[in-house]
Amino acid sequence: MIKLTNIHKSYATEFTNLHVLKGIDLQINEGEFVSIMGSSGSGKSTLLNILGILDEYDEGEYHLNGNLIKDISQVEAAGYRNNLIGFVFQSFNLLSFKTAKENVALPLYYQKVPRKERQEKALEYLEQVGLREWADHFPNQMSGGQQQRVAIARALISNPKVLLADEPTGALDSKTSDDVMNIFKEVNNKGITVIIVTHEQDVAEKTKRIIRVNDGNIISTDVPQTTEG
């Protein structure tokens, strides 16, 4: 599903060239449930952004679902993001002026799905995350956990092959974190590849493979000792 070969990425700042990723080789197969761990500044978020085609890389090759993602146009990138990838962010990134239902339906708007079908599907996906009765609420009327579940429903509605989550539990308490992680698990059980970036050990331990990143390199990739049934 995902194949990274010798990926390098640098950010040029005014005085120095920040080398963030220093030759990442990584393969993630379809249906995997993976976490990427590392301290802040380790390059894990950059890695995730490259996986999500939100950011470009300088060197190496990235294959997504068999397609080489290199020097592609903004329109192509938008197409991949729309059809193959679902995103979940730490700060939820819901549009505050849209209701839960409208937020969830938004990716389908960019797929040119008819309005009625969008609405029906949005309700269906809200149902899956247990928020159907919150469909007409605005984000600021919901708790953090609820907002993140809306964001997950939004990420899933376009039926992506890969779900990318950047610190999805970073803004949540441990109880709601567990709820959200359970949803990710369910999603993965349906065969969708789930990749979570986190710095929390207990979150990472709920996934099936942990990739540790430090200073721009993958230092280990292992299966967690304790997996909850």
Binding site: A78, G79, Y109, Y110, R154
Partner: protein, 407 residues
């Protein structure tokens, strides 16, 4: 084909951002509204001034009697120059290509005019048929005086609308007999005057009748010409030629400005026209600056809006929006908003001008605006709003969504 989904998305965004929408819309609305009022007021001022000239023919030359101030051909200065019928005939012969000529004979003071038992005093003047063009009189009933009336000294009268209303009330006036200072006349016509109310209190009778019946003379008090569509410079030349002809006929120095008084209305009108041009210039200048300030205001708001929406743009891109869809969303929204607001401003402004259209004073009447001009002004605001939004929108659509979402 209209993209219903897209418009729904736009209306959704507009409806959920009421303050932002109101601020943008108000800027455009106010700019256009004020421009309409301003241009309307300028035109009202111009119309008022032009109207004061509707009273009498714009191209007219007025001559009156004077005293010589220079000796001529052995005659001393201080000679009284008078006009009589032979002068009139001479000028008519000399200037037969000129639109019209008329003499005027005043019956000193107002005359008592009686119909049945009603008696009122009115000014009465003996004139030639050409007088109708001079005064811009409009015949509402019957006819004006004719050459035959003057040739045959008929006792007929053309009365002003006010005279008719005073003496005849609702009754028919044409063919009725009125008594003017002891002499009975038949009313042959009623006229209206675009000028003042006072002009409609006058009674006109044939000049020959006035001369013979009231004074037993062939004297004429004033002679007037109208020039039709002659230009101002042609009118000036005509005035000179007339004075020269009179100097030859009456025997006075052609350079003597006192022997015969003359006044050229065309010159006066020209001055008013320049005043009008100046007023128009000022109105346009102020209008131009109000459009500029509108453009700056709208552009500013657009810049702020796009800045404010950077995060939204990042999120939309992460969800699969193409840069083009982002730019067209922002542009369509701004064009729609500014166009509607501009149209409303135009409608309100024109509405107010319409309410004021009844105002008729000497310096201000029937304010109006050129619809094309206002439409272009609205278009300028809409386009500049779109352009002002376009550059930051293009920029925002290009930003890496990760960075945009951190805004």
């Amino acid at each position: 084909m209209i993209d219903v989904d897209k418009w729904e998305e736009i209306f959704n965004t507009i409806g959920r951002h009421k303050l932002r929408t109101a601020l943008t819309a108000f800027g455009v609305f106010w700019g256009i509204f004020m421009l309409v009022l301003l241009l309307g007021a300028g035109n009202g001022l111009g119309n008022g001034i032009s109207n004061t000239f509707k009273d009498d023919a714009i191209n007219s030359i007025w001559l009156w009697r004077g005293k010589t101030s220079m000796p001529y051909a052995g005659l001393k200065e201080g000679r009284q120059i008078k006009f009589d019928n032979s002068d009139y005939d001479y000028l008519q012969e000399q200037f037969k290509d000129v639109e019209s000529i008329t003499g005027r004979f005043y019956l000193g003071g107002d005359k008592n005019v009686t119909y049945n038992t009603t008696t009122v005093s009115y000014p009465v003047r003996g004139v030639n048929p050409g007088h109708k063009l001079l005064m811009n009189s409009i015949i509402t009933e019957g006819r004006y005086l004719s050459d035959k009336d003057v040739a045959e000294n008929t006792k007929v009268a053309v009365i002003g609308k006010t005279v008719k209303e005073n003496l005849f009330k609702e009754k028919e006036a044409i063919g009725e007999q009125i008594n003017i200072g002891g002499i009975v006349y038949t009313v042959v016509g009623v006229f209206r005057d675009p000028g003042s109310e006072w002009d409609m209190r006058v009674i006109f009778i044939p000049i020959s009748t006035a001369q013979t019946l009231y004074a037993g003379t062939d004297e004429i008090h004033q002679i007037m010409f109208t020039g039709g569509d002659l230009s101002t410079s042609e009118m000036e030349r005509l005035e000179k030629d007339i004075l020269l002809a009179l100097a030859t006929k009456k025997g006075f120095d052609p350079n003597d400005k006192q022997a015969v008084g003359s006044w050229n209305m065309a010159q006066e009108y020209q001055q008013f026209l320049s005043l009008l041009t100046a007023i128009n210039g000022i109105v346009w200048l102020v209008g131009f600056f109000s459009i500029i300030s509108g453009v700056i205001g709208v552009s500013n708001i657009m810049l702020i809006i796009v800045k404010e929406r950077t995060k939204e743009i990042g999120i939309r891109k992460a969800l699969g929006a193409t840069p083009k869809s982002i730019v067209s969303m922002i542009l369509q929204e701004s064009v729609f908003l500014t166009a509607v607001a501009g149209y409303l401003g135009m409608a309100c402004g024109i509405g107010i001008l319409y309410l004021m259209s009844g105002v008729e004073t000497e310096f201000f009447r029937t304010p109006q605006v050129n619809f094309g001009v206002i439409s272009i002004a609205t278009l300028i605001l809409v386009v500049s709003g779109a352009l002002a939004g376009l550059i930051p929108a293009l920029k925002a659509a290009k930003i890496n969504p990760v960075i945009a979402m951190k805004e």
